[in-house]
Every structure is written in C-alpha cells, then in structure tokens.
Point group: C2
Chain length 566, copies 2
C-alpha cells in the first residue's frame, strides 16, 4: 500500500526520517516541508562559518531538494511553512513564504521535526541594537556579513551555553572584540562548577571578555546595559540564552504537551494522535539516570529518533532505552566532553541519589610525547553500588574518547570496579598504559571501599581560612614557585624521615600537583598510623583553576602565593 | 608481620607491583632486582628516541633507584641479575653484572616480572652485519648513536610487528634509508589483510622500502640476503621478528611452563609455587574470546596483573576476567587500533565461531572540518547472537576512540544492536552526530537480520575476472577519474530512471566511493524487486587500498583503470 508521509522540518530529524523511510520502502510518497530556504544543513557547524573554518555558507548545506529527489525520490519543499494541522481530515495547510500562496496536502502519517527556536526575551531597548540569533544558515550568513565589513567590531554574545561559547570563539578568531555574558555563575552547564573553571580561564586567556553572574537589563544605542550597571559596547548582539521547543503547531492541533513544555511522545515517538510522530528538539525524552522526562537538544538523539519512527511506520521493531545525554565542545585549545549526570544537575533536580566523586588529573598520553597534556577528569558513581552516573573531561588532549568510554559503560550499567579492567588501546602517542579511565576505576573502588578519604578543591579556601593543617608533598622547588598559604611542605621523598613533624591529633589535608604523589603520601601516613588524612582531589593544579576566575574579577584575597597552571 | 618481598624485573610489571605493595603496606621490605642499568623506563616509547621525538635517552627513564627509595621506600638494585631461585630455602642468587660479585637474598614472596626477549635466530653470516635489538634504553641508545654519525645510513628492519614498524618510522624520520622486511604477506597482525593495506601504502608513500613475503636467508658484509635472492644494503640490521618469554629462571626453578611456552599462573597470577607470582610478558593469560591461553606482550595488562598480585599478597580480593587484547599504533600520518578477535586470528586458531563482518568507511568528524578524513572500520560479530567479537580502525583521525568504545562494549558482552543506541559525544571537531560506532551497529543489525547481502573488496578481483555485473553508483565525474574495469555506471541520482538497464536475472554487485550511496542503491533495487543484490563493502576507496600493494610489486593486471585514494 502506497502511503503519503508528510514531514514538517527538513534538518536533522526530518531529513534522517525521510532517508530512512525511503530505504524502508520504495513505494511510499515522502513529502518534506521546510520553512527556511535550506534542508539538511549542518546545524552544529554554523558557528564555524564565522571564523572561516567553514568557508562559504553554502558549504553548510549538505543536501538540496534536487538531490533529495534524484537520489532518494523524496520531495523536499523549502520556503514552505506548515501553518495548520487538520487531524480530523489528515491534512496540513502550507504557506509558500515567498509567494504567500497557501494550499493543503493530505497525509497518511505525519512526522513533526520542527526543532527549537532561540529564546528572544523582551528586553527594554532591544530595537537600539543589532540583534542576531544562530539557528540556521541564513542567520549565520547575516551575522557573518555584518562582522565582515569590519572585523574589529564589538560583539556581545548573551548566553554561555554551547552555541554562545562556540559563537564567541569563532567571532574572536575572526578578529572581533567579543564579550560573553552569562547570568549564572558559570558557562556550559554540562560541566560542574569546579571543572568549568578551566574553560573560564581559557576564554580569558584568549581575550574573550567573560562576564558571569550579571544579567542584561536593557539596551542603549549599540550598548548592552547589565544589572550591575556595567555598559558593554556592542555593534552586534548575539542572543544565545537558550532554545524553546517549537510547539505552536502541535498545540494548535491539540497534541499533548508535556510538563517540560515539549511535545509528549510515547516509546515509539508517537504523539497522542497515532498518525502523528514527533522527534528532535521539539519533544521530551526519558532520561535513564534521572528517571524523568527532559528536553535534549542534541543532534545524535534526533537522528536516532527519526530512524526509529521510520522503522515503526514500516512495522519494524524499535527500542527506546531512554537517553543519558552525551555532548562535547571545543573551547579554543581545550576539549571538553560530558555524559550522564553531574553534580549541578543532581542538585537542580533535587535527585535523591547518594553519590561519590572521582576527580583526577593525568596526562592524556605518555608524558614523553611533545603534545602530552593533563586531562581533568571527574566521575560520579552511586553509593554503595558503584554504578557509574556520569563523567566530565576537559584538557588539550582527547577528552571525548574517555567520555565515550564512560557513556558506553553507563549504557551497560557498568560500575567503577569494572572500569579498572577495561582494556583500552595503548601506544605512547594516544594514551598511557593505564588509561585515565582505568585510574578512575581504581580511585572510585578505593573510595567506595573506604580505603582513604578526600576533599575536593572547592573546600580548600575554607580549610585555609580556618587554619587547617595542609600538607604539600611536592618537591621544594615546586613549592617555592607557588603554594597554598600556610601549607607545610614535606616532599613525598622526605615524608618518612620527617613524619614526626606531622601532627597525629589533627586532620591533615594532603596535596601535590595533580594528586598522585599525595595519594601515595595519604596511604603511607595511614599505614603509619594516622587516621585523619584527606587527599585534596584536583590538587594544586585543580585549585589554581578553581580559584582563578573569582580571584581575577572579585576583590578577594588569594589563598595561594602564586597559581601554577603548568 | 613484616615480610620480605623480592621482585625480579624492574620495568612495567615489576615497578607497578612494587609501588602498589608499598601503598598496601608500609611495613614490608620490598626489594627489586633489574639486570639492566635502568628501572621503570618507558618501554613503548623507545622507538621515539630515534626520531628525536624523545630527545635524550635518559628521558625514557621515568624513575631511578634513589627516587624509589625516597618516595616509596623500595630498594631497587640495577645491574643485578637473579641467576638462581632456591625454592626450598626461599632464596635467590644475585649477580652484580658490573663487579661479577654474587650473593643471595631470602624472600617471603617472590614476584617474577622478567619480560620477554627479542628473538635472535641463528642466521648464517650474522657476524657480518651490525645487529641491533630494541628492548631497553641501552639498546635504543646504541642504535641511535650508530645512526647519528650519518643519518643517511641504510637500515634494514627485520619483522613487521609493532616494534619493527615503529622503529622503521622513527628511523625514516631521522633521515635513514629504511627497508622493512616481513616474511608474512602483511605487517601488524592485529589488523586483517584487507585493513592493513592502508598501512602498507602509507609506508610506501613515506618512502620506507617495504618487502613482504620474503625471508632473510643470510647476511653478507653489510648486506641482507633474502630468500628471493634480493640483496639489501644494510649498515645496520634491527632484529624485530618477535619476542619470547624470559623463562630461563622459572624453568630452572621447576616452575610450570604452559603450552604457549610462557609461565603458567593461576587466577591470582601465582605459579605452582604459592610463594612465587609471575606477571607480564613472561606469563600466559586467559583470552576471554578464544577461551584459551595465550601470550600478550602489552603494557596495560602487565600493570593490572602487578596490581592484582600486590593485592593478593595483602589478602585483598582480586578478579581475573581474562583478556581481549587491545592495542594501537601510529604509522606516520595514520592511526590504527584493534581489539578482540580478527579474521586472521580466528583462522589461525581454527576457532569454530560463526561470525559476520561490518566493514564501513566514514568521516571521523563532520566533513566540513578541515582535518576530516575517512576512518576505515571493521567489526566482527557472532552469528546469530550479534555479540561483538572484535574491531579494527585505521585512519588519519581518532581510531583509538572508536576501538576503546568497542573494547568497552566487548567487556560488557555487548551486541551490534546495542551499539546503535550508544550516546557518544558529538561536536563537529570530534565526530559526527551518528558516530561510526553507531553506524557499525546499524549495519551489523541489518546484516544479522538478512536485510541485505554484501561481499568484501577481497572478492572483487574474482568478480571482475568472471565478468560479473558490477554497478558503480557514483556520479559520472567520479567514474571517469577511475573505476573498476567493466563496471556499469549508473549514478544513484539516475538509478530509478535507468533501472531497466539493470538485469533482473543476474547477481548485481554495487559500489560507490565508501559504501553509503551503494547501500541506498542496494535497498532501492531490493524494494524494486531485485533479489540478488550485493553491496561491495569497502567500496572503491577500500578496493583501491586493497589492490595497491600487490599491483605495485607483482606483475599483475590492474582491475581498475585508476585507483583513487581521495
């Protein structure tokens, strides 16, 4: 039976569904409407046009209606906005956005893949600035044309999510003077506060003006006025504070909307109308780790949903195991990746999860390799099961590799114990014989077993302020180049001969540069009869990052004599 | 109770065991003997000294006896060869290799970590060439000193395993004229014949003289004489044909040796003497996928075994899940990684496994990124369970990431179906929205379900010779720049209008450049009623690599008008 399948939206989800539908059946009529001028463009690559990494805007467009027709017998109509769904008669009304002409098309099955739209708050004076958003090729081309006339322009990017940060980086690389404004106390929420400080510093180092904890209050002529009273010159303003699911059509058609504000779907991505499916940024999905519904603006899940829908329409079995949310970002010279839960999400959702933290810093490859660099790694596991809940990695090396391994382990319900035994590929240019993922497994298992105790770098300021006994086991030269105020320096290499200097009746907080020597010191002291020994995870390098941004922008006393990022 | 633990061998396994023993107990006396002058050097980094990537030989040495003593209270004696084990009296005899002095030390527990030694066959005339091996820092320093006097020297590297290939690359980078001689028809056995051709071509492209299927027969004055009669000028000869476990001491002490020729150990790495453990290259381990004992010369497993032994000695629980063997190598601009089983291992061991193959080529990141490059990926799965058995990846991009994910999935008993749903990190600089690992899951599931059929590039020559119907669905311009002789060219974009040209009564073998367009063509033709359609996996790009080396060195007819590696 030849069916007519209509798809609303021609980018990630829509285009994937169309192609898979065609592979499933040569007979069905497949008709795809896209209100913009392009189908199947690379959404996530848009920011890279600004720096010229992607040279021409047309390169961002991967397919065109002619190719869809010739290669896949799919009819893709661009500049065609679906303005109404008539569920009773199974018809959609379409408006040609160029001619204004309106017409209807009937459907047997309808797939909604409308995406999400940038949130544009009504801020006073918004007409006094040049506002841009970054949703499609037309948007990015407009922004690019604007900055092209004078690359030294001032641009304010509002919102420190993935798009905001990528746009800021690429504008900076183009030569603009960029201010990145974020209302929260951190950018990039998939990373915890202690981890994301590395990105804060990198943005500052690369001369992006980073402003946190300050809100846009109003606009003046080519100026952004912040709640603090600060005024930021801005020839252009890029609005990237977030996206909201495109639900206008769904609501108007009486389709169910979930509490998240996105379209509600079942296991098979069917809406409450069995002939209407929905996929991508417009829907809510089940999060495997929070056991709740959530919005997930990620390209990978959208494509998997599309494939699933195409199979369900063709009576093939589909599975829906829910989502954990894995993502990655490059911020100048640093790479970051995250998967699953992080601490701020657990707190934000008030999840009743008892979790432990592994926080380690290790070279991403053999230290002898010229481009070896520390990788900062944080992993959350459930207590007492050891089940992995999520992880984050940031460094100049291969962060996504380690997080992909963790994402895989999470899908299989893996534990920290099981990470120890993973056999990962080793050669000096790629990794170390025991990879950082294996180390995380060792550390997590030790912590779970109560073999030793730790505090994270976020506790160090309080420790310094209340005069706690902090023991720095780095060599003397390292200590002299910068150390925590008041810390005692007994190098690991002198620990045993000087052990009598360390008080037995106090808590001792031990650190080195990255946490490995201090781990050895902690165990040695415990074996020597000390009972209140804590390893400071993140150690001096992590602490340097942790304190750097706030020290720089706030009038507060440094807790170290000098930071050290080497 | 203070025990005396003696360790024989101070590199990967020995040094790891010592450090972990100390963390487990401050009391025990730990005494480590190393017959060479260095402990704890980076074995796997040795070749990188030849090209100057690792500048000074002393950089290869990560720890020294003084540091071991000061940081870990471990006594490491270098230049100290253990020459006898007296099990009855729990004593070892040690010879100082510098003074010749001999003495004994008793032990409570003994750990053998002697490693493996390069195999040096007795070849006629070997005294007429300068022979080098690459086992330790002294070896690599000697080779480096030799080539340093004149970087244009001729060097013959014998053996195309990991060490041979890495030495060949680094010597070439130093400026030497390098010949790499391998007796088998391929280098690097962790990669199957069809995959490894990429490395063969890369070595040729980088002007390493690669000689396969030819054996060293004898040596003349600074010359290697091959079985073929060919003579190769060689100011130096590097012997890298393989390693054999150091079992001399174990045998002499009456410890059990397995059928593999390596030391037999139990779950806890105990030999048949409960006070003697053995780890590393000298032992045999259980292979989870072949269910048999094997030798595994890998640093990662050695370190894990060492840790396990240190825990067992301290009455901590240990697990031994066996090994699957993951490894990686850089060959000039290409990165390769492999895990688990490959076809040649299955054949060599005559394993009764019914397996299927996924062979795909996809960009390692979004094609718009300037450094995007095809990644060649091969995965083996069990029929009918879909259980993943092994995988290999080669490309200019991140091969180890994908293989690490597969290695993780294998550890959890994962199937091809489960690979589809992995949520891997995506951003354009790192990957694609559906990663190649997800694609492999899709393809594997389709094949397992019998959705379509395939042949691999190794069958194409026979197809051409017997006049099979080969359909090239690339665009006309691509076809003109090089195609399989006799192939019909109907671009995917013209497939439906020209379908009547394709015979219904014959088998049709379809290809494009990488296999994606041909996959769409295969499904379209099936849906149009064709029943004998095969996708040629590896497609034109894979075929170009597959045929290149043999076309170049053997007098045979090319089956293509022109290869294309772009």
């Amino acid at each position: 039976m030849r069916r007519k399948i209509v798809i609303i939206g021609g980018v990630a989800g829509g285009a994937s569904a169309a192609a898979k539908l065609r592979r499933n059946s040569e007979e069905d009529q497949i008709l795809m409407f896209e209100k913009g001028p392009h189908v199947s463009f690379s959404n996530c690559s848009l920011p890279y046009h600004l720096s010229g990494i992607v040279k021409a805007p047309e390169h961002l467009v991967l397919m065109n209606p002619e190719l869809f027709l010739k290669q896949y017998k799919i009819e893709a109509r661009v500049n065609s906005e679906v303005i109404n769904i008539d569920r009773e008669n199974k018809k959609v009304s379409v408006r040609d956005v160029i001619t204004g002409e309106e017409y209807t098309e009937n459907y047997d099955k309808l797939i909604l893949s409308p995406g999400a739209q940038p949130i544009l708050p009504h801020i006073f004076g918004i007409e006094k600035v040049n506002v841009f958003t970054v949703r499609n090729v037309v948007d990015i081309d407009q922004l690019n044309q604007f900055i092209k006339s004078d690359y030294s322009k001032n641009v304010a990017v509002i919102g420190g999510g993935y798009i905001g940060v990528e746009v800021a980086e690429n504008l900076k690389k183009a030569g603009c003077h960029v201010t990145l404004i974020e209302a929260m106390n951190q950018i990039l929420r998939p990373f915890d506060y202690d981890m994301v400080q590395i990105f804060h510093k990198e943005l500052i180092d690369k001369q992006v003006d980073l402003i946190l904890e300050d809100k846009v209050e109003s606009f003046k002529e080519n100026k952004v006025v912040l709640a603090s009273g600060k005024e930021i010159s801005a020839d252009a303003v890029v609005m990237a504070i977030g996206v909201s699911p495109e639900t206008y059509l769904a609501k108007q058609a009486g389709l169910e909307i979930g509490e998240t504000g996105a379209i509600r779907v079942d296991k098979n991505y069917q809406t409450n109308d069995e002939n209407i499916y929905a996929v991508g940024d417009a829907i809510e999905v089940f999060h495997t780790l929070t056991h709740s519904l959530t919005k997930l603006s990620l390209a990978g899940p959208a494509q998997k949903q599309a494939r699933s829908v195409a199979n369900h329409i063709n009576h093939k079995s589909t599975i829906n195991q829910g989502y954990i949310g894995s993502s990655a970002i490059k911020v100048f010279d640093f790479n970051g990746a995250s998967t699953g839960l992080n601490e701020s999400l657990i707190k934000a959702l008030d999840l009743k999860i008892n979790y432990g933290i592994v926080r380690i810093i290790l070279n991403d490859k053999v230290g002898l390799m010229p481009d070896a660099a520390p990788l900062h790694f944080k992993l959350l596991y459930e207590i007492p099961t050891g089940k992995i809940l999520g992880a984050q990695a940031i460094g100049k090396g291969d962060a996504t590799k380690r997080i992909d391994v963790i994402a895989t382990a999470i899908k299989f319900g893996g534990t920290v114990e099981e990470l120890r035994d993973l056999e990962l590929c080793y050669a000096p240019p790629f990794s170390t014989a025991k990879d950082i993922v294996n180390y995380a497994g060792y550390v997590g298992t030790n912590l779970l077993n109560g073999d030793y105790k730790q505090v994270n770098v976020d506790k160090v300021r309080a420790l310094v302020e209340n005069g706690s006994y902090i023991l720095d086991v780095r060599e003397r030269g390292e200590y002299e180049r910068g150390h925590i105020k008041g810390a005692m320096n007994i190098p690991l290499s002198e620990l045993r001969e000087c052990v009598s200097e360390i008080p037995k009746n106090r808590s001792v907080y031990v650190h080195c540069r990255t946490g490995q020597r201090s781990y050895n010191a902690v165990l040695a002291l415990q074996n020597l009869g000390y009972t209140n020994i804590y390893n400071i995870t993140g150690s001096f390098l992590g602490l340097s990052y942790y304190e750097y941004y706030n020290d720089r922008v706030k009038q507060r006393e440094k807790i170290v004599t000098e930071y050290n990022f080497n």
